[in-house]
């Protein structure tokens, strides 16, 4: 599926797990949201930092997806007895775009950042998290999604 011929805008987010409160002003003029998580021990609070100044729907969706994906990566890592590095993060970019007949579509890019982790292991982790994450599942087959891994 490659429905989008013209990208109108892209929402970008960088999501990390934190145990403290988000400090306002970290990203001046931007959006930082401390997300609460459902009552399971693997789900902690997450910082959602929107990268562009104006929050768009695509940033909100990217924030939802990335926080969920990060929780899922944590669950999978625990199952596989993998110690995630402290600076583990998920970056999601969601494009809003137009197809050839002027119809609207979205598409996404998910990047799991696990610095220092073995690349094959990180790839396995990313795919297992993608299989588990309800936002990945809810869009499966309906939108273009690129899954990438950063271990450097």
């Amino acid at each position: 599926m490659s429905n989008i011929q013209k990208v109108l805008l892209t929402g970008k987010t960088h999501t990390i797990a934190v145990d403290g409160r988000v400090t306002a002003g970290d990203h001046e003029g931007k959006l930082n949201i401390e997300l609460s998580a459902p009552g399971n021990p693997a789900a902690q609070r997450h910082t959602f930092a929107a990268i562009a100044p104006h929050p768009t729907a695509e940033q909100l969706f990217a924030g939802a997806w990335s926080s969920c994906f990060l929780v899922t990566a944590g669950i999978v890592a625990k199952e596989k007895n993998i110690q995630l590095p402290a600076d583990t993060a998920v970056e999601v970019e969601v494009d809003l775009g137009l197809g050839g007949a002027g119809e609207y579509y979205i598409q996404g890019r998910v990047n799991l950042i696990v610095p220092g982790l073995d690349r094959a292991l990180a790839t396995t982790l990313a795919h297992a998290a993608d299989a588990m994450c309800p936002y990945s599942k809810s869009t499966r087959g309906n939108i273009d999604v690129t899954l990438s891994i950063t271990t450097a």
Partner: protein, 151 residues
């Protein structure tokens, strides 16, 4: 599809078209975001009010979907030459739930168009659902209930 057997939490959002800024403190402890929109004339700024205290991923997704959906409603109404009343709003609830050991989401969309003919409002709701990229992105993959309120 009814994958969810147990709902873990529900993100609720109400989105209205607004040309002014959202006032902080409207919903103390809640999340109010003024969304910017892509460069088309039908899409203005949108106020996203998260109803519960702590914004969850499900509220963010509800906010994204509802902002997009209300823009689609505006486009459809314009095509049909329908003037939307000032009380037009979209309420979305997104559940995170479990089916067995698996996580799923499901959603309820309510298009609120006070005073509009119900059949016309229903037409608009379905046309917007067919147009909205978030509705399309989740079609067939999650449970979605679409409601129309005109009272």
């Amino acid at each position: 599809m009814s994958n969810i057997q147990k709902v873990l939490l529900t993100g609720k959002s109400r989105t209205t078209s607004a040309d002014g800024r959202v006032l902080a403190g409207d919903h103390e402890g809640g999340l109010n975001i003024r969304l910017s929109a892509p460069g088309n004339s039908a899409a203005g700024g949108h106020a996203f009010d998260a109803i519960a205290l702590h914004p969850t991923a499900e509220q963010l997704f509800g906010g994204a979907w509802s902002a997009c959906y209300i823009a689609a409603v505006g486009l459809v109404a314009k095509e049909k030459k329908v003037v939307l009343p000032t009380g037009t709003a979209v309420d979305i609830e997104v559940d995170l739930g479990m089916g067995g050991a698996d996580f799923y989401i499901q959603a309820r969309l309510t298009l609120v168009i006070p005073g509009l003919d119900h059949a016309l409002a229903t037409d608009i709701a379905h046309a917007a659902d067919a147009m909205c990229p978030y509705s399309k992105a989740t079609r067939g993959n999650i449970d979605v209930t679409l409601n129309v309120i005109t009272a």
